[in-house]
């Protein structure tokens, strides 16, 4: 009896996936739970295991195609069995005669019912129109204006619409074009994605290295298609700049207090917990605590509504370098309810699994605020891009000893202190300068007067 291989539901918010690579050919024998193919969603790549032991009978969705969750991708059965999918392959012969991959077959008739029966298939709530729902209706007028302004389908899909069912109206597109044109003037130019959103977990052994590219001898340039992760990053970065009125504010922070606590517990902590007690742990703890007092920073703009979040779900930007350089933002849920030990474990666990590609898509969504750490590579500070639909992002600059003029008993003295700069990238649509600075001042005071020990 042939068994279906279906596009799995990798998370609540995932509606479709792309076939990156089939690891087996039709006719190959497979073991149950052996990796059959690699798929990617807009959040992660994942290996899909064989549903049972037998022979891969057919490949019904070829590499590169994007299909809905629940779509039948192929069949595994007994050698010689005919595939019910009718996709190309080794029906009748265990050894495939063709070297080429099986011909593509459109899956629509089967995809529809399969999709209906898929569990936990959540239809997007109309109140929060998905800004990335591909394939939504685009009116002829919007299409013409988009074409005239060099806006492609992907970019159109990234614009949030105010029309029926979240449709992008002429006005939405005009606003988008207008804001797109003026956004860069509002903030300092963005050096690059990686300098603004870098790795955490200074202790992690797999710290990314500078990406390298081999340009073949005799060629002047190397052209390669962007990976799905890179496409998502490209889309998200531009969409964020187009959506939010980015502004940045900078505060210097004296970490001497925290450094003292850290130095005192570092070794014992590592021995007991198995993970490092990093500055990041303290920063996450302080940020989560301070966010509770500043609801405007832990918020979202949904259409014309302002949405304030009770939960603090902290996104932690993590740089990866394998199989290619990139960036992901796993989320520490309910960070405000964790102590330093809990946070240290949660951050380490997420960062490790991001790098080993074992992160689940749901762990990459739902953040209410993000922390990114360009200082990890020595940057004084960065001007990070807001992780939509959040309204603010904290950038952490390098921390180093610096001479600081302090007043002791009425006399100015030069002291050696552990100093670093924090930046807050915030959405000026919702957050006024004063609101942002009050949050930052609170965060600075909290960090400088930190007393909680792990």
């Amino acid at each position: 009896m042939a068994e279906k291989i279906v596009m799995p539901q990798l998370g609540e918010s995932i509606a479709e996936g792309t076939i990156v690579k089939w690891l087996k050919k039709p006719g190959d024998s497979v073991k149950k739970d052996e990796d059959l193919l690699v798929i990617s969603t807009d959040k992660v790549e994942a290996e899909i295991p064989a549903p049972s032991t037998g022979t891969l009978l057919s490949i019904d969705v070829p590499e590169g195609e994007t299909v809905n969750v629940g779509t039948v991708l192929g069949y595994v059965g007994e050698a010689g069995e005919k595939s019910p999918g009718g996709g190309g392959g080794g029906g009748g012969d265990a050894a495939p005669k063709k070297e080429e991959p099986a011909p593509a077959k459109k899956e629509e008739p089967q995809a529809a019912p399969a999709q209906k029966s898929a569990p936990a298939q959540s239809t997007p709530a109309p109140s929060a129109p998905s800004s990335t729902s591909a394939g939504r209706f685009v009116s002829p007028l919007v299409r013409r204006i988009a074409a005239d302004n060099g806006i492609g389908d992907d970019e159109l899909n990234s614009i949030s619409g105010t029309g029926n069912n979240g449709r992008v109206t002429k006005k939405d597109l005009q606003n988008y074009i207008k804001n797109r044109g003026s956004a860069p003037a509002a903030a300092a130019p963005q050096p690059s994605a990686s300098s603004s959103s870098s790795s955490f977990t200074q202790s992690a052994p797999t710290r990314p290295s500078a990406p390298t590219v081999q340009i073949p001898a005799g060629q002047r340039e190397l052209v390669q298609p962007a990976s799905s992760m890179r496409k998502v990053i490209m889309k998200n970065m531009v969409a964020s700049k187009a959506t939010s009125a980015h502004v940045h504010t900078f505060f210097d922070v004296d970490y001497t207090n925290i450094d003292r606590i850290r130095a005192k517990h570092k070794k014992a902590f590592k021995d007991q917990e198995g993970v490092g007690l990093t500055y990041t742990t303290f920063l996450a703890a302080a940020t989560a605590q301070v966010l509770k007092r500043h609801p405007y920073i832990n918020a979202e703009i949904r259409g014309t509504d302002l949405v304030f979040k009770k939960d603090v779900h902290l996104g932690m930007a993590v740089a990866i370098d394998s199989p290619e350089p990139g960036l992901m933002v796993p989320v520490v849920r309910a960070a405000d309810q964790m102590n330093l030990r809990g946070l240290a474990h949660a951050i380490h666990d997420l960062a490790t699994r991001v790098r080993s590609r074992r992160i689940k898509p749901d762990e990459l969504s739902g953040g209410t605020f993000t922390i990114t750490n360009p200082g990890n590579y020595g940057a004084i500070i960065g001007t990070p891009v807001i992780n939509q639909p959040q309204v603010a992002i904290l950038g952490v600059g390098r921390i180093q000893k610096e001479p600081v003029v302090k007043q002791v008993d009425g006399t100015d003295v030069i002291a050696i202190r552990n100093m670093g700069v924090l930046s807050l990238g915030f959405d000026h649509r919702l957050i006024d300068g004063a609101t942002a600075d009050l949050f930052m001042a609170d965060l600075k005071t909290t960090l400088e007067n930190w007393t909680t020990e792990p």
Partner: protein
């Protein structure tokens, strides 16, 4: 406090009852409060429905009179006004019954009495006998409507000086009628009575009748009404109405300041409809009133008081039943968390049931130019449309106002046979943001009136056939 509702709707007009029915269907515990005896509001009892019932009688009478031209001779055709009124009243009462039935079907509780807010979460309903019921609710939709405006020098007596409410009940066809106000309401009555033999004079303050209509349509309708014997005076200012018991003398000044008078059996004042927002307890909430006493709302029809919504004639949007309904749906869908899209008022239709009828949606040619569009007009006369010739209704046109750059349909203006129904296609095209090229390349059946839409679109798209 007897009950706790999810929504209490105050007013059961086309905004209120539609909102209540939808709220019921969405599973919200809903009540509707109505001060009149029957449900349906102005639209059903004193507006759209009764006027159109009377106007249809005039249409039928006109058809009989014109039929001889195509060889159908009906002798002795006459109007029996009491029966016309009776037909109208039957239409109204059967529709009101339908509204009551709908409320029952959707499990909406109906309270008779005057509804007033006592704070944002309580509605006090004062019944005719003076007893008061208090309803506790999570949300309120104010759909309290409007009433005819009275002029200080022309007090309504219901016999000689009338509002639209009064004239709908008039017992006989008046010999002469002076209309103060040449807007949509006034013009429909002018068209009704002129065709029934009344000598009608229209006094309009602005340079054209049908205020918001495209100038070409207003001009064409002026010509048609004048052909039917209506006297239309624009840019005049009424200064006095002398009610003499059986007739009235209306004094007006022309644009040069010269005074004139007109004697008529009836004076109909149709100069707008102020909102009925007094005494409804808005001051017990954070909701605010703007200019003209209209309730201030956002795109979701919500006032400054969360949970208190206002729709229809009591907010500053066009006085149209279908707009009130659309707004009511937005309000209750927002309450239910359905995430409705805000109404785009550039895409809402307006209809005048005169003869010939007029209908439009979107910007007029003048408005489009004012907003800086590079305007391209496509206009096609019904005189060149075969079906219009067959019907013997060759007067009028379809006019598209489009943007030359992207082919956006900015506005459409129709005057002529079935204009109010013909509007459907271009109004849908606009709301879907199709371009004029899409309309021009859609095959339209022959012979139909709506071929005129295709012809006008083709002209605007630069591929005219007969135009």
């Amino acid at each position: 406090m007897s009950e706790t509702y999810d929504v209490v709707v105050i007013g059961s007009g086309p905004g209120g009852y539609v909102a209540a029915a939808r709220a019921g269907a969405l599973g919200l515990k809903t009540a509707v409060v109505e001060k009149d005896k029957a449900l349906g509001g102005t639209c059903l009892h004193r507006g759209c429905i009764p006027t159109k019932a009377l106007l249809h009688a005039a249409d039928v009478y006109g058809e009989f009179k014109d039929a001889a031209k195509m060889g159908i001779v009906a002798d002795g055709v006459r109007v029996e006004w009491e029966k016309v009124q009776k037909h109208k009243n039957q239409v109204v009462s059967s529709n009101a019954g339908g509204v009551s039935h709908l409320m029952k079907a959707r499990k909406v509780d109906v309270y008779n009495g005057f509804g007033r807010l006592e704070g944002p979460r309580t509605v006090a309903v004062k019944a005719e006998d003076g007893s008061e019921t208090k309803l506790s609710t999570k949300n309120v939709v104010l759909a309290v409507g409007s009433k005819p405006r009275e002029l200080p020098f022309a007090k309504f007596d219901g016999k000689v000086v009338m509002s639209s409410d009064h004239i709908l009940q008039v017992e006989k066809i008046p010999g002469s009628l002076c209309l103060i106000g040449g807007g949509v309401i006034g013009i429909e009555f002018a068209s009704l009575f002129a065709r029934l033999g009344t000598k009608v004079t229209v006094l309009e303050m602005l340079p054209q009748i049908l205020g918001p209509a495209d100038a070409d349509c207003a001009k064409a309708l002026t010509r048609e009404l004048q052909r039917q014997g209506v006297e239309i005076l624009t840019e005049v200012k009424v200064t006095e109405v002398k009610n003499k018991g059986n007739s009235a003398t209306t004094t007006y000044e022309d644009s040069e300041g010269r005074a004139h008078t007109v004697d008529t059996e009836i004076v109909l004042v149709a100069v707008g409809r102020p909102p009925l927002t007094e005494g409804i307890g808005l001051d017990t909430t954070k909701a605010t009133l703007g200019r003209g006493g209209f309730v201030d709302v956002d795109g979701m029809m919500q006032t400054a008081e969360p949970g208190v919504y206002a729709i229809g004639d009591c907010v500053n949007t066009p006085w149209l039943a279908h707009i009130a309904s659309a707004e009511g749906l937005i309000a209750v869908e927002h309450i239910a968390g359905e995430g409705p899209a805000a109404l785009n008022y550039d895409h809402t239709p307006s209809c005048v049931y005169s003869e010939p009828p007029v209908a439009w949606s979107g910007l007029t040619e003048a408005q489009a130019k004012e907003q800086g569009y590079e305007v391209k007009i496509g206009k096609f006369d019904f005189a060149k449309n075969a079906k219009a010739a067959i019907l013997g209704k060759k007067r009028g046109f379809v006019k598209f106002v489009t943007d030359a750059q992207y082919g956006e349909i900015l506005g459409v203006h129709i005057i002529g046979p079935q204009a109010t129904d013909l509007l459907a296609e271009p109004a849908y095209a606009m709301s879907m943001e199709t371009t004029i090229q899409d309309v021009a390349t859609t095959v339209h059946a022959h012979p139909t009136l709506y071929e005129a839409i295709w012809e006008a679109a083709s002209i605007a798209a630069g591929r005219a056939v007969h135009g």
